[in-house]
Symmetry: C2
Subunit: 378 residues, 2 copies
Amino acid sequence: MTRISDLPTPALIVDRQKFDGNVAKMAAVRPGLSLRPHIKAHKSTTLAAQLAAVGHTAFTCATPREVIGMAQAGLGTDLLLANETVDVSRLRAMAAMLNTRSSELVRITVAIDSEITASLAAENGIKDVLIDVNVGMPRCGIAPERAAALASYAVSLGLNVRGVMGYEGHLMAVADRDEQRVKVRSAMGVLVQCFDDVRLVSGNDCTIISAGGTGTFDLYDPSDPVLARVNEVQAGSYALMDSHYGNLDLPFEQALYVVGTVISVSDSWAVIDVGLKSLGMDHGNPTIAGASVWFCSDEHITFSMKDGQPLPNVGDRVLVQPAHIDPTIALHETMHIADQIPAIGVQSGENGNGGKEVGGKVVGGKVIDAWPVNLRHW
Amino acid sequence: MTRISDLPTPALIVDRQKFDGNVAKMAAVRPGLSLRPHIKAHKSTTLAAQLAAVGHTAFTCATPREVIGMAQAGLGTDLLLANETVDVSRLRAMAAMLNTRSSELVRITVAIDSEITASLAAENGIKDVLIDVNVGMPRCGIAPERAAALASYAVSLGLNVRGVMGYEGHLMAVADRDEQRVKVRSAMGVLVQCFDDVRLVSGNDCTIISAGGTGTFDLYDPSDPVLARVNEVQAGSYALMDSHYGNLDLPFEQALYVVGTVISVSDSWAVIDVGLKSLGMDHGNPTIAGASVWFCSDEHITFSMKDGQPLPNVGDRVLVQPAHIDPTIALHETMHIADQIPAIGVQSGENGNGGKEVGGKVVGGKVIDAWPVNLRHW
């Protein structure tokens, strides 16, 4: 039996029970195709297959590499590239996936927000598109008043317009949920109006209104005439969560850690082999339960213990909670799936489950599986 | 001929002329073995081979993976793991490299800062060690007053103590060079005293005093009785530089960029396909010459232009300067080596070198080589 303490570090570990709990909580609110899980958070076809198994068989991707890898893994029945690309080679590579299996098995829809993204999609073999609408966040997406014209243009090129998407990413982290609800409704009002305009110039297959994320997953109130029309939510982080989203009032639990090994201990601090190259740092420092993180270096975290707790020993394992899971996972090749992860951050043989020797201390947590992070890069 | 605009993006590119200039400037101040270049900044044996070609044939590594990869690439005549490890498998894997070639071709020295790191090194086949001394930065390194005792212990285990190292990392970014010089001299006074103590209990092969980095490379004044005794500098970032070090008064030029493609343009901003998964973010946002970076998302940067300059067009290429190169490079598989990189950040066909079409605009900069980032992970 492999335990967490047997893993070479730094290593990503996923708490199986928390992952399963997160998946179940989401599926209860957004079952089946009402959720289009985002792949970018974890970039793993093995994880995606777990979501397909509970009914979420349509997926959202951020890169052509994700789209192609999902199709190759047999998870391509309804893939959305929720992003623009003008890369002719990659457009063709995605289009090639449509021809390698029967059309029932692979469907690829690409977001467009300009005439050039539409024409490149059409010229390079893409059949299905979604009109990406700017609903308030300054990133991709066409201005709402121009959405219908773009749809007309896409139709004129022979593209099938399946609907609209509008990611209200600027509202994901609004801490006050009532305030968030009001703002999301306003943004979705814009998106729904765009859909109605786009629908007028598109065919009967124009049915999708896709939006949202983990921070807004339960705000598409089925009794609200606007919000009820959002028929897909693009949440991805919910399955593994992170301490950034963890600060919001959401029912999902953090299920992803980076496990490190203590390599040096001084009078007032200890150092583990987890650092900038194993952690996404855009949301700030990671956290260690019971400890104060001093700073991160390329391959190290320096930390001290809170509340007079003793420092760990060299060889002890430490659980690190990354502030942002997406860029953290992108730095690793494998997620190790663990059972019975201990609740505490720093676990030594002495106060843990009965350790034996340095480098081989027993830490609660059986490693029961390994999921490759196989959709990295672009 | 491949041009920068032919590369799939995001892509790392290295300015060959600036890289060569940086290497030459460093070699003039710290020639040959007086520099032990750090591999962690770039994790590329191809880049390391360029440094060996100008005489720097001893290298510094941060991970066992780097040590093993360098040895496998034939660059292992004098490798220092300037970091502690208690991973028995990896210690054995490093030791195995000592036996796969004749001993003149591979030498591996491991930093130790505790009895346990010493004994694990000895038990698992490591022969050479350096006593890692804390010279003021709270990370690894034994307290100076205990360095000689650790050396005695290592000798008692049969280890060959080659000397001391002390990384004054807390002084790398002191902006005032006079203040920095005073502080570095103080830290090196501690290290040199440790060396003298360690030398008394070690053999004649105890000769190394290793310290420093890019931010202090020229402060080991040969006329100063203390500083002159530092006989190795562990600089690594200097070869490619980044905007963090670039803010200091150093002679090295930033030679590494991430090139992106504009995928969306709105009235007041544009978006490129470079984001958190292609940029180390611990030092903050990247910079784009002539532009204001608004924010980074997983796969995007949103930016506007300064000084009333027009926004680029969809399909244009943009050069992004990462704030910290080490974790940036760790996210990529390849560095593309380019000639004649344009000085400006945003390069469109219209104001550039005569573009042809979206997705294929010509941007100054021939791609002349590709260096794999082949020492990633641990």
